[in-house]
């Protein structure tokens, strides 16, 4: 009885779209452990009250990717795409940095909150422009957000007058570098936001309506769903989340680099969403999947550095991991293997992975 329940639980997990993402994270961690057996070791530094370890670094690095991936998964679910998130990150970071610099590098919490507020407001406005272009003007999402992607970096340059701008503000810095109950604040924040978005979307009809628009806009409109307001909301949310990511990103070094902050992050976000099992053609989406995808990309980036893969081979290594992952996810490729394995036993696949179970459970709840 209990073993039956266990295998069915396991089978369900294997069937989840982001299962292979989890496998890839574990595989990468194992690769790192092979290089250095102490890779997973986490120590507690009583002096600063923080946990120290490679895994903690991965969690911290994953926070901005998680944010934009969550926003992106909603946008993609409506059948759209948001290419502007990287540029919005740069704008948000630029606004925050310039404001704090003009405020005179104080340690005041008010200044930090003001900077965050204004940065998020402007990100929301940029998101709203995307939304209006897509929902009301009827431009293709790819084109409208491409415009914003190009314009955004220009806006960031105008805001900072083309210079990389630094500022100092302890509360702001704490968001990106601080620790709470031993864990990085950015990661806790990112997970909290992801959970809130997930709950709001899944506990209300919102998620269902977003999926309906993505699957069949015409049918959903006939069923009484007004797409315009929803689309606008989704693009604004994506903008705001990109703004949060921008704050996290510039906060780590307290410098905004207008040409590098958020550079090509939209591709990471799209990748994270795809790894999480959301189809680019729209429809069903998974916030949990996007989180797994974001964690995988952070793990991959850190692994490349830890293993010391040479700079010129880095893109190739990244591409290989992702191609393998996409092949594993592909229904068709998997069906070839199942067909070949049919005669002996159909359920051979699940029994190969029970050892990774505890970690998977943690990740899923995350």
């Amino acid at each position: 009885m209990s073993t039956g329940a266990r295998t069915s639980w396991l089978r369900e997990l294997v069937r989840k779209p982001f299962f292979w993402g989890l496998v890839a994270i574990v595989a990468l961690l194992v690769l790192n452990v092979l290089k250095d057996p102490n890779y997973l070791a986490i120590s507690y530094d009583p002096e600063t009250g923080r946990l120290v370890g490679n895994v903690v670094d991965i969690l911290r690095a994953s926070a901005p990717i998680l944010m934009i991936a969550v926003g992106m998964s909603l946008v993609i679910a409506t059948g759209g795409i948001d290419l502007s998130v990287g540029s919005v990150m740069a704008v948000s970071g630029a606004v925050a940095m310039v404001l704090m610099k003009d405020a005179g590098d104080s340690g005041s919490v008010l200044v930090a909150l003001g900077a965050i507020g204004l940065a998020l407001l402007i990100s929301a406005v940029l998101g709203a422009v995307n939304g209006v272009l897509v929902a009301y003007v009827g431009l293709q999402p790819f084109i409208s957000t491409l415009i914003m992607m190009l314009a955004g970096r220009g806006i960031a340059k105008v805001i900072t007058e083309g210079q990389n701008t630094s500022a100092s503000n302890e509360p702001f810095r704490w968001i990106a570098n601080g620790f709470l109950i031993g864990l990085p604040v950015v990661f806790l924040l990112a997970i909290a936001i992801a959970i809130v978005v997930g709950l709001v979307v899944r506990r209300s009809a919102l998620g269902l309506m977003i999926e309906a628009i993505g699957i069949n806009p015409k049918a959903s409109r006939m069923a009484g769903i007004k797409p315009n307001g929803l689309l606008l909301t989704v693009y604004i949310l994506s903008g705001v989340l990109a703004g949060v990511a921008g704050i996290m990103s510039v906060g780590t070094v307290m410098t905004v680099d207008v040409s590098r902050t958020g550079y090509q992050m939209e591709l990471d976000a799209i990748l994270a969403v795809v790894i999480g099992g959301t189809s680019l053609s729209g429809g069903k989406f998974s916030i949990g999947g996007a989180v797994v995808g974001g964690l995988l990309i952070a793990t991959l980036d850190k692994t490349i550095v830890f293993l010391g893969i040479s700079s010129s081979a880095t893109p190739a290594f990244k591409a290989i991991v992702i191609v393998v992952l996409c092949l594993l996810q592909s229904q068709r490729v998997r069906s070839w293997f199942v067909q070949r394995r049919k005669p002996p036993r159909a359920s051979a696949a699940p029994s190969a992975v029970p050892s990774e179970k505890p970690q998977q459970k943690q990740e899923v709840t995350a």
Partner: protein, 332 residues
Amino acid sequence: MSVQRRFVKFLGLAAVGALSIGLAACSSSGGDGASGGEGDDLTTVGFVAVGPEGAWREANEKNIQETFTEDAGFELKYAPATNLDQKSQIDAFTSFVDEGVDVILLSATEASGWEDSLKRAQEAEIPVVLLDRGIEPDDTSLYVTRIAPDNVEVAKEVGAWAVEQFPDGGNYITLEGPAGVGVVNERNEGWDASVDGSKLVEVAAQTANWSAEEGKSVTETLLKANGNDIQLIFAQNDEMGLGAAQAVEEAGLKPGTDVKIATIDGTLAAMEALAAGQLSYVHEYNPLFGETALDVVNKTLEGESVDSYIIVPSEAFDSPEAAEAVLADRQY
């Protein structure tokens, strides 16, 4: 109903309008600064430039524009590339030749593909001076001279400083720019020329894409991968070095004593960090060579010959005091 729809349409148009104004504002900042005044005794100089790229380039091109003024007897026609595109540079170059300017200054975005354009200038007897970036293949008969700081030489000096600082050897990591870029290869070449054969051991070399954020993230991981047993970080630009300094601090080490960080470029932010003891060594990559260019142009017009490669001297700063001395009037 129709009112609402019209309102919505208007909203959309307003958004598009706002966006296009924003775009226009971006592009107008890079407009040409050439004045229309056709003075009789002014020498016309066509400047095929790179345009907005970063703090270094901005300082460099501003310096050139401020040197070739009408007061100095020049009319400078500034033509920046659109989005670092070589095609737009070749177009600007050709129109300068057709126009018959007296001298052309060229900062090429791409090294290759300039032979035909340079030959046309030669046929029109217009001397061409290369600024900062060279051309491939390097045919010195096609241009008067190339004026630039020497990446290899600068990196060699950084390496020499490192070897001198660590006579008993030590572990170091290199933070590189994007793989395959000419600057990165040259800075690696110069560094290796000095450091090879010394007791310094390179434990890792990774790209951090010229960015402070990535510099910090990469350094953080490399410190952990080597159990904090790193004494020196060679960052190929200032930004990455500044990021690395923060990672070193967060790992509980002290930049300057536990880990020394050397960077190249010499921007204001790096000088401040050097003065504060965050960095240990900053080698300038001098963008201010307008005076040298002016000298070369004058000599060429008078028919004197100049060397085919003029190296712009760059200073090294190896102490907080040296940095403080120049902080006040740092232009970039």
